[in-house]
């Protein structure tokens, strides 16, 4: 019984980490309709900035928690203003090509600045300990990640459902022309949403770096994971992303525990089944193409 409980904690923690990594991508796709394939790269830059800030003192992790997402948000701002804005009327294909190209450029830039060695991020002593649950030792940070995931989900839900900004964003999603006619600057809304998406990608980089580490091609691995979560959860739905992240976390953890040879199969199998049974994802809205 203890073993099941312990794996439950593992799965929840992994799922929450997936949510923190994916929520920025889900937000941008849901509201802008832009599938940002550079999301993994923004995540990677968040992680590398964290590395640079913490390399001399693990205590700086708290600083990185604020600075790295802001750095990535600024980068997202520049991308939106200079490149992405011009593609809104061109449709998905241009955006996919643009962001995928950016991913390769960021890959090389990161290799030039930080090299191709494997790096890791150390945690401050207050987060680095172990906690005993179900008679098993857990890294305290894994439990912290669970808390961060819930907080972030609650925060995003509150902003989207309960504030004026959230109302404008939701309105912009259903009818761009009408909301412009009502005097809302829709261009500004798009910029702000993309910048928030960048901020969240950077935050994902900070949160995940101490667990997943830094290495070449990390951004593409992360992108694939994030896309799987996005597809299973349903495009454009934060609650769907949240549910899917937890589900994948649990499925992957328990399949590794029960049938380790087939663990990868289970996650992608789950995706295939969801796509067949519910093509819009678990909690997806119908997205107008």
């Amino acid at each position: 019984m203890d073993m099941i409980g312990a794996q439950l904690v593992n799965g929840l923690s992994y799922g929450m980490m997936l949510f923190v990594i994916t929520c920025g991508l889900a937000l941008v796709f849901g509201i802008l309709g832009v599938l940002n394939l550079a999301h993994g790269s923004l995540y990677m830059i968040g992680a590398y900035v964290t590395y640079s800030i913490t390399v001399n003192s693990a205590q700086n992790f708290w600083m990185a928690l604020i600075i790295a997402p802001i750095v990535v948000a600024i980068l997202a701002f520049i991308i939106e203003m200079t490149l992405l804005r011009a593609t809104y009327h061109l449709g998905h294909l241009s955006q996919v090509l643009l962001t995928f190209g950016l991913a390769y450029i960021f890959h090389d830039i990161a290799a030039i600045i930080w090299g191709s060695n494997v790096l890791s991020v150390a945690l401050p002593p207050s987060l680095a300990g172990t906690t005993v649950l179900f008679d098993q030792s857990f890294p305290t940070y894994r439990l912290v990640v669970i808390g961060i995931g819930f907080l972030l989900a609650a925060g995003l839900w509150y902003v989207q459902e309960k504030t004026r900004w959230g109302a404008i964003i939701r309105a912009g999603l259903s009818d761009k022309e009408m909301i412009s006619a009502l005097g809302v600057n829709i261009k500004l809304v798009f910029t702000v949403v993309f910048v928030i998406g960048g901020f969240l990608a950077g935050l994902g980089g900070v949160i995940a770096a101490p667990v997943l580490g830094l290495y070449p091609i990390m951004e593409f691995q992360t992108l694939i994971l994030a896309l799987v979560v996005l597809v299973i959860g349903g495009l454009g739905s934060i609650s769907g992303t949240f549910t899917a992240a937890i589900l994948i976390g649990l499925v992957e953890t328990f399949s590794k525990y029960l049938v380790p040879e087939l663990s990868l199969f289970f996650v992608y199998g789950l995706m295939a089944v969801v796509l067949v049974v519910k093509p819009n994802g678990l909690l997806g809205k119908k997205v107008a193409a």
């Binding site: 073993m3 992994y14 494997v118 098993q136 290495y215 070449p216 380790p260």
Partner: protein, 381 residues
């Protein structure tokens, strides 16, 4: 450093009697294995620097091609080096899949191929070729050398985990073979996928097993995560971790923090081998590159030396591939890793293997050699 061709000078009557010895180096300079490829190149260049890029009056020239660790790409580039650049000797390949992919090409065109890293067993077993010689290691040597030692010194029940790909499976199979032959019992096995990012589930499973120790084969970013998470999940206090040198390699330990302390590993070279040859090598490397050499740098350094010594024994004339491989087979020298010689039957290196223990020295981890297993010879089948 010589890097570009200067074939325009001299009367190039035939490629064979030219004034240069052309070495084709097929190493990855992009992708996941880029840092290994770079270290191998640095090792080779360091040795050739020491002999002024010259053997018996002939200039040494390296032609580099990026293997991209991709078998198809590599085959194309190997052909280009053989047909267009007319290299005399081929060396390199980090990936065993790449070595297998170009095996038939070098065999049929009779190009001496000195394998300087790729460790797949079959390359000097069922896929053996007259023209392929390997100076690095085989998976078997890595895994097998730890088996008997672990039974005598670590414990009688072991849990085995390794990355789920050919190399990880071969190394762990060789370990199990030697360990069970000595009388040990394997109480469980699990094989996480290569490039796995979170070991929490596996570690919880392993933590529930009744074992005296855990044998693990992971390399690169997998090794950093596994070793760190092994400590974070409190397993380090319960069961000692043993494995191969890649678990605690020179370029990873800084990223691993103090987590690798106490790990026992088997390898064929370590920074702290206490011999004059090794001290000279590590000092020269640090002087030139400002960083410690890795195992791969040593492999490059030795490969360069083998090529140079073989060429020297032929008076610098490397035009006849059969003579070159014959010369390879006779090369012996005191390498930084210990006595170096080839097994003439298998074309694979016979070498000392070392058991290292990772210790904390002045707040940083160091591998200390605690045992030498002499003259480990791959069975060749």
């Amino acid at each position: 450093m010589q890097s570009t061709s200067n074939s325009d000078d001299k009367a190039d009557a035939s490629g064979s009697s030219s004034e240069t010895i052309k070495i084709g180096a097929l190493l990855p300079s992009s992708g996941v294995y880029a840092s290994l490829g770079k270290n191998l190149s640095q090792g080779m260049e360091l040795y050739f620097d020491e002999i002024n890029w010259e053997v018996e009056g002939k200039k040494i020239e390296i032609i580099n091609e990026d293997s991209e660790a991709d078998p198809q790409v590599s085959l194309r580039k190997a052909r280009k080096m053989i047909d267009q650049d007319q290299v005399d000797i081929l060396t390199g390949t980090v990936s065993t899949a790449v070595a297998y992919a170009i095996r038939d090409e070098v065999d049929s065109k009779k190009i001496p191929f000195l394998v300087s890293h790729a460790g797949g067993n079959d390359l000097t077993r069922s896929q053996r070729s007259d023209y392929i010689w390997r100076s690095s290691f085989s998976s078997w040597q890595i895994g097998h050398s730890m088996g008997e030692w672990a039974y005598k010194n670590v414990g009688h029940k072991i849990y085995v985990t390794a990355a789920d790909y050919a190399f990880g499976k071969e190394v762990s199979a060789a370990f199990k073979e030697a360990y069970t032959a000595a009388g040990g019992e394997i109480v469980g096995e699990v094989y996480p996928p290569l490039g796995n990012n979170d070991y929490s589930s596996y570690l919880t499973t392993i933590g529930g097993a009744e074992a005296d120790a855990v044998y693990a084969f992971f390399a690169g970013s997998d090794a950093v995560r596994f070793v760190q998470q092994y400590e974070q999940y409190g397993l380090k206090e319960k069961m000692p971790l043993i494995g191969s040198g890649w678990l605690v390699s020179e370029d990873l330990r800084e990223s691993q923090g103090n987590a690798p302390e106490g790990i026992l590993a088997s390898t064929f070279w370590d920074y702290n081998i206490n011999t004059d040859e090794n001290k000279a090598f590590t000092a020269a490397f640090e002087k030139k590159y400002g960083a410690r050499p890795t195992l791969e740098a040593l492999e490059g350094y030795d490969a360069a030396r083998i090529i140079a010594e073989a060429a020297a024994s032929l008076g610098g004339d490397v035009s006849d591939p059969d003579q070159v491989v014959e010369a390879f087979s006779n090369v012996t020298f005191a390498s930084p890793r210990g006595e170096f010689k080839f097994d003439k039957d298998t074309h694979h290196v016979i070498q000392d293997m070392y058991i290292t223990k990772t210790q904390l020295v002045n707040g940083k981890t160091e591998n200390e050699v605690i045992e030498t297993i002499e003259q480990v010879q791959d069975p060749g089948k």
